[in-house]
């Protein structure tokens, strides 16, 4: 086994390093920031973390029932929606396709290019047969729908719809009235299960602890400026301080765009690859607000969607679409033991007015005002807001997108992020992609780093 270098000390980077080390590689993990964890600092939802991924890494984590999503509006927190017969019926419908979606998300997506062996089509064919005619036709019908239409068919009230839809739209560039948003909602619901006890910080802690018990060499504060390539083969990386680190394999868990356009020297990219990668859509529309509070907000509800109905969610998306400062952003709130992590939907990376201290403060004020009605407003004063521009700069998330690439029909499964890259390997020998921009999409799964390592 040779030497492997993993770029990025986020959850996928650590998972990838652990998997590679397990398989006998001598692994170096480099992280640009001074601390590990990457997106675990800006995400909070662990219900889509796949149990097989946690098992595969041997993380000593407990699972607990996921806190349910509760809707709220200016008048207060609404009643639970999980007991509604319409929601129960809809969740049952999701399970018609749930097994297939989880299976597909636990392995590399099939290579659909002409260089694929015909045997690679056997797996997908078996899956399709297992699904059966009725389910297959229904999946083909539901996928292209907009979420609102789909949930309307199940008579889910529009306020409850907002609660179901908003968390699922986190990785998309869509509103509930966008065609194919039903697919995003379906994937999110199918991938959702129990949550990790202790939430994201427990996962973060477990990853770090597990890493310390291995021989993986970790270098923090070490930004990679270039992936070194000779004769179409990776030789290592160059760090910001000018040092070279040699490696037989480099797995990048930063985004495919940041990797292939930012780190690979243009002359080493195959012809046309720059355009291919340029076309990957990574339009972030979410800002992240964090605050430490002493008394619980929302009457202690741990997962809250602050939006009246789907129209409100759609209007927030409209603001992002038109690059306007959101007036009434949809707030997707995670509250864990005094820590609030709020995803502010409707904040475009490419705001017309631009992100500055002033515009960021204006959005922060909007968020604080919206939250103030639901708890001790004073506690929010120290809350901080990361705009999509901040997310891009501080966490290296292209376009400020929390998942390195939008969930879209042409950017999921075998198309994520492009059919020629879907199995984690690139045209450059030894360069592997293993970040959130890779398959599977649909939520924070912790799967990509492991699957990428397995492909080495």
């Amino acid at each position: 086994m040779g030497t492997a270098l993993v770029i990025g000390g986020g959850p996928n980077g650590i998972a990838c390093a652990l998997t590679l080390a397990e398989r006998g590689h001598a692994v170096t993990l480099v992280e640009a920031r001074s601390e590990l964890g990457g997106r675990t600092h800006v995400l909070a939802d662990t219900r889509t973390v796949q149990p097989w991924a946690v098992r595969s890494l041997g993380l000593p984590l407990e699972w607990s029932a996921s806190p349910e999503w509760i809707g709220a509006d200016d008048s207060g927190v609404r009643a639970s929606i999980e007991g509604l017969p319409s929601v129960v019926a809809w969740r049952k419908e999701v399970e018609r396709f749930g097994g297939l979606i989880r299976t597909l998300s636990a392995r590399a997506a099939p290579n659909i290019r002409s260089d694929a062996a015909w045997t690679s089509l056997v797996g997908p064919a078996v899956q399709a047969l297992k699904l059966g005619r009725a389910n297959g036709l229904e999946l083909a019908r539901v996928g292209p729908l907009c979420a609102e239409d789909w949930l309307d068919e199940w008579s889910v009230p529009r306020d409850a719809q907002a609660t179901l839809v908003a968390p699922a739209l986190t990785g998309t560039w869509m509103g509930p009235k966008s065609p194919t948003s039903a697919l995003a909602v379906l994937f999110y619901a199918a991938l959702s299960g129990r949550s990790i006890a202790g939430g994201m910080s427990a996962l973060h802690g477990a990853l770090i602890e597990r890493l310390e018990g291995t021989a993986v060499s970790v270098r923090k504060g070490a930004a990679v400026t270039r992936i070194d390539i000779a004769d179409g083969r990776v030789t290592g990386v160059t760090l910001a301080d000018g040092t070279n680190v040699m490696a037989d394999v480099v797995v990048s868990t930063v985004g495919p765009k940041a990797t292939l356009l930012g780190l690979v020297p243009p002359r080493d990219l195959p012809v046309g690859m720059d355009q291919t990668v340029q076309n990957i859509r990574t339009r972030g529309i979410i800002a992240v607000f964090r605050a430490t509070v002493t008394s619980p907000f929302f009457g202690g509800a741990e997962r809250v969607v602050l939006a009246e109905d789907t129209v409100a969610v759609e209007r927030a998306f409209d603001d992002a679409k038109h690059r306007r400062m959101p007036v009434r952003p949809t707030l997707v709130v995670h509250q864990d033991r005094g820590e609030l992590v709020v995803h502010v939907h409707g904040a475009a990376r490419d705001l017309d007015a631009g992100w500055s201290v002033d515009t960021a403060e204006a959005l922060r004020a909007t968020v604080v005002e919206a939250l103030a009605a639901h708890g001790d407003a004073g506690a929010l004063a120290s809350g901080t807001l990361l705009t999509p521009a901040d997310l891009e700069r501080e966490y290296g998330l292209e376009g400020g997108h929390l998942f390195h690439g939008e969930f879209a029909i042409d950017q999921f499964l075998s198309f994520r992020p492009h059919p020629s890259l879907t199995q984690y390997r690139t045209a450059i020998e030894g360069l592997v992609l293993g970040g959130a921009g890779m398959h599977p999409a649909g939520g924070f799964t912790l799967a990509q780093g492991i699957l990428a390592a397995q492909s080495v």
Binding site: R113, G136, L137, E138, V142, G143, P144, P179, F415
Partner: protein
């Protein structure tokens, strides 16, 4: 009991007439029943204001299948298609862009916005041409059922699979992207100029309740390139005498082959006994029997109104009720005293001998869509305009003109409810004229007569349920093997001896004639009549 007719066709729109003509040509005794006083359905011409002929609804020949023109000898029966020579886009700042069949001129025009886009434009056209060649069989064949084991379906699927593979990886991916992406996202992978992307993207939204940035809208871009392959048969163009002239030519052809056609003969009911269609009952009570009944009307109207829910399987009724119609467009026809010059390019040049798009930028188009999303007509709508009188002087008295304006968005489902359309009709017309006046300053002074058709009017007058001009949204979930519903997308219906032949069947709307032809083919193949 012997029926007098082999087939009765409900609705004398262009698809019903095409189906009738093919069946008559095959020797069947066919009767076409049209509710209105003239034929053509939404493909009709009417002299609404003395001396001025309007193509009241549909205003261009859109992909009329060349084999239909040939098989039914339409030129012999009066069809004369004049080519649309250009696509013109004026902008509020006084600039404008004209794309035409002349590559050098088009290149110069685009280069004044972006040299890079001028370079890319022909390359894009070439790629789209290749995809069009792949997709063409899809609209000229019945849609195979992808989840069936029947040999005929499997053979067709395998053939299509092979054709897709033959496209190669790059074009195959492009085809997939075209089918799933939004028009703007798709075009933005090629072009940098919003002024070019905007008018190109709007061909993807015509007739749909979607925006140019909604996934799934890119596909219709291809239709324009398919027209180019159809080539000299002029699949895109303007029919001399207006769109009604197409329907009249098809009707004459059908009659030539022996079909009987009646107008002012609205069907009130499709008679069904023991799950099989027997014939129809007219609005005046007359009963007519036939071996098969074929409906050119929109599917929901056909089944829920003419057949009746009690005759249908519950699952099918659920599917029909889910079927999205959601009309989103209106039409304004103007009779003009003189030609209304465009400020950005005055005069009657080549730029007005084609279609004209009011689509200054993609944000404008999305704002127009946003209005509709929340139940209002667009204050600043997207418009697609033709001047029939420029191409065919017989459409208006000498020196005077007819202006045909397709307007989007005019959502059937207003937030107050669709029945409020009549009271909003004139305000809608004003929004159209006011917006246009910004591009044609003399327009308002030259209007002699204005006809405003809202989706409500399209439903009332033409039987277009919810005012949908395509008999159902052309969205991914309602195309191919799912049009109008999955399991019933091959013209057959759960009612034996009742068939569909209208735009609500594959391959959908537009003045293509394909559903009518394909339905006739299936009916004859199965020996149903």
């Amino acid at each position: 009991m012997t029926s007098k007719y082999d087939a009765i066709i409900v609705g004398g729109g262009h698809n019903g007439l095409v189906c009738a003509a093919y069946l008559a040509k095959a020797g069947r005794k066919v009767l076409v029943l049209e509710k209105r006083h003239i034929l053509g359905g939404a493909a009709c011409s009417e002299e609404v204001y003395p001396g001025f002929t309007y193509s009241v609804c549909s205003y261009v020949v859109s992909l009329l299948r060349p084999q239909i023109i040939r098989d039914l000898q339409l030129p012999r029966f009066g069809l004369h298609v004049l080519p649309l020579e250009s696509t013109f886009s004026p902008y509020p700042d006084g600039r404008s862009l004209m794309r035409s069949a002349d590559p050098a001129a088009t290149r110069r025009e685009i280069a004044s916005f972006s040299a890079r886009d001028a370079d890319v434009y022909p390359i894009f056209g070439k790629a789209m041409g290749q995809l069009a060649r792949f997709t063409k069989p899809v609209i000229d064949e019945r849609a195979p059922d992808p989840m069936s084991w029947r040999p005929r379906e499997l053979m067709q699927l395998l053939r299509m699979g092979k054709q897709f593979r033959d496209l190669g990886d790059d074009l195959g991916l492009l085809q997939y992207k075209l089918t799933t992406m939004s028009a703007v996202d798709f075009l933005a992978e090629w072009f940098e100029t919003d002024e070019l992307i905007a008018p190109m993207s709007c061909s993807g939204i015509i007739g749909t309740m979607l925006g140019v940035k909604s996934p799934g809208t890119a596909y219709v871009l291809l239709h324009h390139y398919m027209g180019e392959i159809d080539g000299s048969s002029r699949a895109w163009g303007f029919a001399r005498g207006g769109t009604g002239a197409i329907s009249m030519a098809i009707a004459r052809s059908a009659e030539h082959f022996g079909a009987e056609i009646r107008t002012n003969a609205g069907v009130a009911q499709i008679k069904v006994r023991s799950g099989a269609a027997q014939g129809v009952v007219l609005e005046d009570g007359t009963e007519l029997d036939a071996k098969v009944v074929i409906s050119g009307a929109e599917p929901r109207l056909t089944f829920l109104k003419l057949v009746g829910e009690s005759e249908l399987p519950t699952e099918f009724v659920t599917q029909l009720k889910r079927y999205k119609l959601r009309g989103s467009s209106g039409k304004v026809n103007l009779a003009l005293d003189r030609f209304p010059d465009f400020a950005s390019r005055p005069g009657i040049g080549m730029h007005v001998r084609g279609d004209i798009s009011i689509a200054p930028n993609t944000d404008y188009l999305e704002r127009a869509y946003d209005d509709a999303k929340y139940g209002d007509f667009s204050k600043r709508p997207f418009m697609n305009i033709v001047f029939p009188s420029v191409m065919d002087p017989d459409m208006a008295p000498e020196g005077k003109h007819v202006m045909s304006i397709f307007v989007q968005y005019a959502p059937y489902h207003l937030k107050e409810g669709p029945a409020h359309w009549p009271e909003k009709r004139e305000a809608f017309g004003d929004a159209v004229v006011d917006t246009l006046a910004e591009y044609c300053p003399t327009l308002k002074d030259s209007i002699l007569h204005r006809q405003v058709l809202t989706p409500w009017d399209l439903e009332q007058e033409f039987g277009l349920t919810e005012g949908n001009i395509f008999h159902g949204e052309l969205s991914l979930d309602q195309l191919l093997f799912q049009r109008p519903t999955s399991g019933w997308a091959q013209y057959k219906t759960p009612i034996r001896k009742l068939w569909l032949c209208g735009s609500g069947a594959h391959p959908g709307g537009g003045v293509m004639g394909a559903p009518g032809q394909l339905a006739a083919k299936e009916i004859l193949l199965g020996g149903a009549c």
